[in-house]
């Protein structure tokens, strides 16, 4: 049986009462006196407590739901196979409202109230930014699944790691050779007018220039926009490729309106699947995407040469061959991102086992153990593909997938090498003190 527990009313109240009644007693002591903890935990097979910072509400909620399902599935798989170091894993989920302030409070709650061994799971980068400083101060390892470049850019701290999902910078630069070789040299970019979109703009422009291509127009769209047609005339007529990456609830509108605008006489279109993540490819109005290309973090549709790892992973999470929930074919998953939760949990497991992790006093050992990971083979634990972890930048690098829309489905057309995704280190976290 997996031990998956949301903080129920009972637990919360009990721990609150305990805190109030005991005062400087058990709870505070457990946090401050390592000897006490080591003794109590060495005696039992107490679960390893992983605080799961989940976007249940706010703008990230559609992703949060699938991150939750993946996390629960991975936890069940880990526990069914004997847990970590013989101890079961317990997930303590707290909603962060996709809000940086609440995110920081939630990390604090994991560290100080739920006595979690570590915090994990965040996707939206502003929540990562808001929470990471607290994680560093509380000295609790913070494993994010965010695909932001913020970890490897050196803007965070030694306690923050991203071992389960590649970052935007590597994804984007790996696309440039494919786009310029196969689709065209003159690219117009359409992206949301905030940090995530700006990362795309900057890294892709640079990478494309190296390939001899050119970004001829950059169209930034405010994140709250709900109608897009008025932006399309800004696309220059000599555009060979439209590169789009949109996020948020209006993504489907964006793609549909692009279809209405262009009809069949369209330039080549290359998009990040973020523009249609969790959206059914069979939605009305998407027919025009036929023949266009998408970046995928992990192919949503089961491919002909699907690995057994992917097959088992799909089954465990409850996703069918079309990337939708097995219980509701209209409920499409965030397949390109959520594998990061699964893989991160297994990396945590590896790190803990390598470090001989016993309790919070071994947190730095855990980080050092993860930092020393390099090669991650394609396996049941890492169904998305093989990876290379860079301990200095705390960032993992891996294959990227490019799929073509065929018969309303996504068919894998190209897989980049890991080398395509590498870039120079911008930070060496291992030199920072704990």
């Amino acid at each position: 049986m997996p031990i998956i527990k949301k903080p129920s009313r009972l637990v919360t109240r009990r721990s609150a009462l305990k805190g109030l009644a005991v005062g400087t007693g058990a709870v505070a002591a457990a946090g401050t006196l390592p000897g006490f903890v080591r003794y109590s935990q060495a005696q039992s097979s107490e679960p390893i407590r992983i605080g799961f910072q989940v976007h249940r509400t706010g703008i990230g909620a559609a992703y949060g739901r699938w991150y939750d399902r993946t996390t629960q599935a991975a936890t069940k798989a880990i526990n069914d196979a004997g847990g970590i170091n013989g101890r079961p894993v317990e997930i303590i989920a707290e909603d962060d409202g996709t809000d940086p302030k609440r995110g920081a409070e939630v990390v604090e709650k994991f560290a100080s109230q739920h006595n979690c061994d570590l915090a994990f799971g965040t996707l939206f980068s502003h929540v990562v930014f808001g929470s990471a400083p607290r994680a560093g101060e509380l000295k609790i390892p913070y494993f994010v699944v965010s695909e932001g470049h913020h970890v490897a850019s050196g803007k965070l701290n030694r306690y923050t790691l991203q071992p389960g999902i590649t970052d935007v910078k590597s994804q984007v630069q790996a696309m440039a050779p494919f786009v310029s070789d196969n689709l065209g040299k003159k690219v117009t970019m359409i992206y949301p007018d905030f940090a995530f979109g700006h990362d795309h703009r900057d890294y892709f422009s640079a990478a494309l220039e190296q390939q001899g291509g050119e970004v001829i127009a950059k169209i930034a769209i405010p994140p709250t926009e709900s109608s897009f047609t008025k932006y399309f005339p800004k696309i220059p007529r000599d555009t060979e490729v439209i590169y789009h990456v949109m996020v948020g609830p209006a993504v489907l509108t964006f793609v549909k309106e692009m279809g209405e605008f262009y009809g069949p006489n369209k330039p080549e279109i290359f998009g990040f699947i973020d523009s249609l993540e969790a959206v059914d490819m069979a939605s009305p109005g998407l027919e025009f995407l036929e023949g266009s290309y998408f970046w995928e973090g992990n192919p949503r549709y089961a491919q002909k040469d699907q690995s057994t790892y992917d097959k088992d992973y799909r089954a465990a999470v409850g996703v069918d061959d079309n990337g939708a929930s097995v219980s509701d074919p209209k409920d499409v998953s965030t397949y390109s991102h959520m594998f990061g939760c699964w893989e991160t949990l297994y990396t945590i497991k590896d790190g803990m086992e390598a470090a001989g992790y016993k309790g919070p006093e071994d947190r730095t050992k855990l980080i050092e153990a993860v930092e020393s990971i390099t090669d991650i083979p394609h396996s049941a634990e890492h169904p998305q593909g093989a990876k290379i972890f860079n301990g200095k930048t705390h960032q993992v690098f891996g294959h990227q997938y490019i799929s073509k829309v065929k018969d309303g489905k996504l068919e894998l057309a190209h897989t980049t090498s890991i080398e395509d995704t590498l870039y120079d280190d911008e930070v060496d976290y291992t030199t920072q003190p704990f």
Binding site: A62, S226, P284
Partner: protein, 293 residues
């Protein structure tokens, strides 16, 4: 693209935006005009309309037009009933005190939004348009459904105008708007009129959303933008002036597409919000209105 087709497209898009905005804002304006209530939850009634439209559409099998027609009738009705209930149970008990009603409608905003999150969920869901042929112009393509939205909004707005000017209901509304005590003295049940107006305002917002949801999608956070835009339109149009509201909606809707040609869209939004602030500061009656807040 050349300037001519570009302006044509911007005008078409502007007309769609203006049509939806006019319907939504007229609802807000009506509530303010008659009740002197600033309804911060107005955008949530818009959202409710969209979400209900998805729900009705998913109930009905067969051609998407059936579900759409059902939604067009029922979604505004349900939104109106919920709004009238909110008026009866909350706003009335606050004696329509301006500040208390603002705080209460902020509360209402969260209640509606979060209830939808709990029941409908966080996903953006599409509703199929009742028809959706694409017109091929030499420069770009355009959805025929969008023309329908413009037409439907015009018909509905004319309907509202006839109701306000030619029917007994309109007479009663105008009497209550001019002087609620006097209206009371003439045997008009101001209580019921207020509940009806609040319901009508919400219904118009919901109706606009049903029209727009085949173009966009239903999502529980979609109420924010229409609220802000409606505010802008109602203030620039002059508070409580229905005609001014419609004119301002056309002005704002049309200019939005064209302004974003020259400025960054974020900058355009900054300019629009500052414009509202300065209109209120230096011309509190709005550009076309007679009464100030």
């Amino acid at each position: 693209m050349d300037l001519g087709p570009y302006l044509l497209l911007a005008s078409l898009e502007g007309a769609v935006a203006a049509a939806v905005l006019a319907l939504t804002a007229v609802g807000l304006s009506l509530v303010f005009g008659v009740m002197r209530v600033v309804n911060v939850a107005h955008g949530e009634f818009f959202m409710l309309g969209a979400v209900l439209a998805w729900w009705f559409a998913s109930l009905v099998a067969g051609h998407p037009a059936f579900g759409f027609v059902l939604a067009l009738i029922c979604a505004p009705l349900i939104a109106a009933v919920i709004a009238a209930a909110a008026d009866y149970f909350v706003l009335k008990r606050l004696n329509y005190d301006p500040e208390a009603t603002i705080v209460a409608t902020i509360g209402l905003l969260y209640i509606i939004q979060q209830t939808v999150l709990m029941t409908y969920g966080p996903d953006a869901r599409p509703v199929e348009a009742p028809f959706n042929a694409r017109i091929y112009l030499p420069w770009f393509g355009y959805s025929t459904y969008k023309f329908f939205v413009i037409g439907a909004a015009i018909v509905l707005l004319i309907g509202v105008w006839i109701m306000l000017t030619k029917t007994r209901i309109g007479l009663v509304l105008r009497a209550s708007q001019l002087d609620s005590e006097m209206a009371l003295a003439f045997g008009i049940k101001v209580d019921q009129v207020y509940a009806m107006v609040f319901g009508l305002g919400a219904g118009l917002a919901a109706m606009a959303a049903v029209l727009v949801v085949p173009i966009q999608q239903a999502h529980y956070l979609m109420g924010g933008d229409p609220l802000l835009l409606s505010f802008i339109v109602v203030i620039i149009g002059g508070l409580g002036s229905i005609a001014g509201t419609v004119v301002a909606a056309i002005l704002i809707g049309m200019s939005d597409g064209i302004i974003s040609v020259f400025f960054s869209p974020t900058l355009a939004k900054i300019i629009a919000t500052l414009l509202v602030a300065f209109v209120l500061i230096f011309r509190p009656t709005g550009l076309f209105g007679k009464r100030s807040i």
